[in-house]
Amino acid sequence: MADSRDTVPSGTEESTAAGDQPGETTATPAPPGVAGVVSAVRSRRNLAVLVGLTGAVLVLIALGVFFGVRVLQTDTQEVRREMALQTARQFALDLTTINYQTAEQDVQQVINGSTEQFPAEFFGVNGPEFVAFVRQLQLESTGEVTSAGVERADVTSARVLVAVRATVRDSNTPEGTPFNYRWGVELVWTSDKWLVSKVELVL
């Protein structure tokens, strides 16, 4: 077509050529002939594919960031929630597993898992005083956590409900007294772990 137009430039052909002007201009820098047209078509198609793919990649990156952030946030929350649950369970167990023969370690275990002010608030006396009290009464307590669930948990604080069964023996009641506790355990996040800040009976 282009060749025939070059060789036979009639009036009508001229006007058609003028109409084709923009297409003709784009094709000019490429080598002339069929190869040139093919390459022009190919490069225009490539451009469309390039634009399309770039757009798709950008949209996918945006979606990836969006979902990634959400999943990461939820996972952090879930990990904290599960840690709060396990910490509260273990703490409830430590709190009900106290033997006068190992009182010092048992009480230390409780102190390690809780905030500074907890022992005084919960036992009514400080750690060493409580140890002396346990030894004096020959107190023996064995506990079992029968169920525990998260009431609420955010990134820095949580409250866990714990159902505990405990049997307490002392010099006055050697046969032991069974207790069924309903505990609300409050926890605070301290740099890398949960610490218990409060244990209250849910009445």
Binding site: A30, P31, S39, R42, S43, N46, V49, L50, L53, T54, A56, V57, L60, I61, L63, G64, F67, G68, R70, V71, T74, D75, E78, T146, S147, A148, G149, V150, E151, V160, L161, A163, N180, R182, G184, V202, L203
Partner: protein
């Protein structure tokens, strides 16, 4: 001099033209691969996000239903015992439904009529033990107030109840009830 420069330029243009025609194709192919890999990654993340929100929805819906339905199951009045137990059964599913039906017919209903028992349950606190989209385990601290014809005193009982909630269609039903 001028001719050789032109020839050299033509060669360059030709060489350039040749590699230019291949380079975009290769670049497009690479971009396509990137898009596919990104697409798979986004799909996986989207699926994880969808599952997370399903778990969260399940947790909230099951907890709310458990709070309401444990009251339905544990409260009854000897005057309306049949309707009360029928309503309770509607909240249950699976093996626990069968177990409860037997208990209701042979123990709860006769005793309620004979001793004129009225009992009301109150949820004091509720928490989620574990949750997935189809099943949620809930721990409830329930206080039950019971009255009967034998005495004027109201008896108070502190229960610790673990409920397993199962999703049946778009509803949450109690599939297990354990006193812990």
């Amino acid at each position: 001099m001028s001719a050789s420069w032109t020839a050299a330029r033509d060669l360059t243009v030709q060489a350039g033209g040749y590699s230019d025609a291949r380079r975009p194709t290769r670049a497009l192919l690479a971009l396509g691969v990137v898009a596919v890999v990104l697409g798979i990654a986004v799909g996986a993340l989207g699926w994880l996000d969808h599952r997370d929100s399903q778990v969260e929805t399940a947790r909230q819906a099951a907890l709310q239903t458990a709070r309401e339905q444990v009251v339905t199951v544990l409260s009854y009045d000897f005057g309306t015992i049949d309707q009360d137990l029928q309503r309770a059964r509607a909240a249950l599913t699976g093996e626990y439904l069968a177990e409860f039906t037997i208990q209701a017919n042979y123990i709860i209903a006769p005793a309620a009529r004979e001793q004129q028992i009225t009992t009301t349950a109150n949820v004091i606190a509720a928490a989620v033990v574990r949750a997935d989209p189809a099943q949620v385990v809930v721990l409830l601290f329930v206080t039950q107030r019971t009255q009967n014809s034998q005495s004027d005193a109201v008896r108070l009982a502190a229960h610790r109840i673990q409920l397993t909630m199962a999703r049946v269609g778009d509803r949450w039903l109690i599939s297990e009830l354990d006193r812990v």
